[in-house]
Amino acid sequence: MARVILVFNKKVIKEYPFAKDSMTIGRDEVNDIVIDNLAVSGHHARIDKTGDTYILTDLQSTNGTFVNDKKITSHKLLHKDKVIIGKHLLFFAMSKQEQAKAKDGELDKTMILDTARQKELLEKQAEKKAMAVSAQKGKLGIITFIDGSGEGEIQLTKKLTKIGKAETSEIRLGGLFMPPTAATISRRPNDYAISSTGGRTKVKVNDQVIKESHYLKDFDTIEIGSYKFQFYSQDSKDEK
């Protein structure tokens, strides 16, 4: 059974299961979903269920009915569609079975275009992949050398960045006592964290020796051996 979830100001006000074949929405009390707001017409819109299809129709309302930010007169509702009436959000959720059925319906239609559509999808994926590396969701960590060694800026594009003498290190540091890997910076679900490998070379963050790992905040200073650098993160959309 599908549901309509009424949300206002980011708070869920009420949930309406779709028990009948149609539900009306409006300011008037006779409606199934009553929204008491001046921007909403007395009889604003209606959702009709036919078989497995849900159709939302605007009843010539004054301010209109919007689905996913587009104004509609009549619209076939899909799982997760966001309907805006006045200032209220009505979230349309289908049950898992209904979602599966809806998907079948779609696929029957696109079967004929299969190979062409597949090629299209693959091309889109190639574009997406090229962009994905430089535009990941969330922030991109950046390391700047601040000890005048002139190394400049290093972007932490990898999930795990190794720092040390080894040639395979993403950030190569020299020095007699520098181990192959002195520290690592790993991308976690929400932040970056620096870990010490526990060797002789101490890793300091903001002048404190770190024992195991430490979550990095913007402008933290990191010291490894005689190297000093600073960490900050920026929204990946801006980086090159």
């Binding site: 979830i5 708070k11 959720a93 599966a100 998907k103 690592t184 976690r188 490998t197 526990g198």
Partner: protein, 275 residues
């Protein structure tokens, strides 16, 4: 480095069948948990197929030391080679389940979540699609190494709802990503260095829906043997209702301290002699 691991998958108290699946492979350091969904036990098929495809392909690529171009789909340059093996095997599993769900009526709508932990000499890789979870237990804290691909988690992250609202939200079991619903999927993959005594928990939402993170941490801290801890976790979830299948897997790392100390001693002797 010594790995001790255990896992348990329980049907719970309310469901007719167990659509979760898990595998523990200490020889290759690969641990996988999956929570299947779909009518008429298609969920059992989905979770099993996903785990087996991932295990088979990751092990195969490792044995052959396959270059990135030989993998399925485009490589991800933010990941190491092993990370790519895992990410790629997930995409392959997704495609197979998707095709199966399109091809056979009894598999229509089937899908599964997936969480994978791969342990290597100095690093671990955590990968997931869906709302099953991986946690790192280090010292006194427990932190997630998985990103939750569910409606409420994304609302929470965007600041649209609060934690309390998320717990009771009617949308909380709606997934934004899983294996089998679309032909292409992206997993969230994280690579981190591990530290002596690190422990990792893989679990399905049958556990986390009923027991809070703090309580889970406390159960883990109060036990030493992974088998015992897994049993405690499952039993507690069942005590609280067992509404869904419950699957847990706990992996503990015990590094041999002697190795590191030996190196330091040798370095010390070397430097003394240099003088």
């Amino acid at each position: 480095m010594k790995i001790t691991a255990a896992g348990l998958s329980d049907v719970g108290l309310k469901r007719e069948s167990n659509e979760d699946y898990l595998t523990i492979d200490n020889s290759t350091g690969l641990y996988i948990v999956a929570d299947g969904m779909g009518g008429h036990q298609a969920g059992e098929v989905a979770s099993r197929v996903a785990v087996q495809i991932i295990q088979k392909n990751v092990n195969n690529w490792i044995t052959k030391n396959s270059p990135m171009v030989d993998l399925f789909d485009f490589p991800d340059m933010t990941l190491s080679q092993r990370g790519n093996y895992i990410s790629s095997s997930i995409k392959l599993a997704n495609r197979v389940i998707y095709e199966m769900s399109q091809e056979y009526t009894e598999y229509k709508g089937m899908g599964t979540t997936i969480v994978i932990l791969a342990i290597m000499p100095s690093t671990i890789i955590a990968a997931n699609v869906g709302d099953s979870r991986i946690y790192l237990i280090r010292g006194d804290t427990m932190e997630p190494l998985s990103k939750e691909h569910s409606m409420v988690a994304e609302q929470l992250e965007m600041g649209l709802i609060s934690e309390e609202e998320a717990k009771i939200s009617p949308l909380r079991h709606i997934l934004t990503r899983n294996l089998g619903s679309t032909d292409i999927v992206d997993a969230d993959v994280f690579e981190i260095e591990h530290i002596n005594n690190d422990r990792f928990l893989l679990c399905t939402d049958g556990l986390t829906d009923l027991i809070s993170d703090d309580e889970i941490l406390s159960i883990i801290k109060n036990g030493n043997d992974p088998d015992y801890i897994c049993q405690q976790l499952v039993s507690e979830a069942n005590k609280r209702g067992g509404y869904d299948n419950i699957t847990v897997s706990l992996i503990c790392l015990n590094e041999q301290n002697d190795e590191k100390q030996g190196i330091i001693r040798r370095l010390g002797t070397f430097l003394k002699n240099k003088k």
